[in-house]
Amino acid sequence: MEETGAVFRKELVSKLLHLHFKDKKTKVSGDALQLVAELLKIFVVEAAIRSVRQAQAEGLAHVDVEQLEKVLPQLLLDF
């Protein structure tokens, strides 16, 4: 896989997770945050690459929502 420069910032990941915790006392370790950020990055890159592959299979010049819709079910099953 290519080296990616963009990453999810730890602060953002922390806020996103705390938004959905039922117990307000739940905490997240720093290493775990970094790992979740990595997981989210893989999720996004995977969504993008699978959509590109779908568009290529359809012989299109660019990716539209339709291609994402076609690859989304399997993507969500993989995460």
């Binding site: 990616t4 996103l16 938004l19 997981l39 989210l40 999720f43 996004v44 969504a47 929502v65 993989d78």
Partner: protein
């Protein structure tokens, strides 16, 4: 009173919008990288849709992680919980486990560096103190 409640709800809404904007920004950057790599452009709507899905996926991640930690009778989520999150795909689990080891290694090196720096500083201060003693003796 009623007005206050309304503004609180509005505040929460704008906070959510800000988080979504932050996710959208990162997704945009990542898609840009994929686009230049694969030589294929994404429509704006596609990037917005991926952002929305990612934001939604965070809810699943957060709820799973919280339950994993509670199952282990902990209130702090650690890397073991995150590894469990990647259980559905073999290659993903392998990648996340490797990444975890990388992060642990990096932390170890950082700690060693910090310790060394601290020791150096201590030695320097001791030496300067000794020098000071010698000077005062003379």
């Amino acid at each position: 009173m009623e007005e206050e409640e309304w503004s609180e709800e509005q505040q929460r809404f704008s906070y959510l919008q800000r988080l979504k904007a932050a996710v959208h920004y990162t997704v945009g950057c990542l898609c840009e990288e994929v686009a230049s790599d694969k030589d294929m452009q994404f429509s704006k709507q596609t990037i917005a849709a991926i952002s929305e899905v990612t934001f939604g996926q965070c809810e699943n991640f957060a709820k799973d992680l919280e339950m994993f930690a509670r199952h282990a009778k902990r209130s702090t989520i650690n890397t073991e919980d995150v590894k469990l999150l990647a259980r559905r795909s073999h290659s993903l689990l392998k990648y996340i486990t490797e990444k975890n080891e990388d992060i642990a290694q990096l932390n170890l090196e950082k700690k060693a560096k910090k310790k060394k720096k601290l020791e150096d500083e201590n030695r320097n201060s001791v030496e300067s103190a000794e020098a000071g003693v010698e000077e005062s003796e003379n």
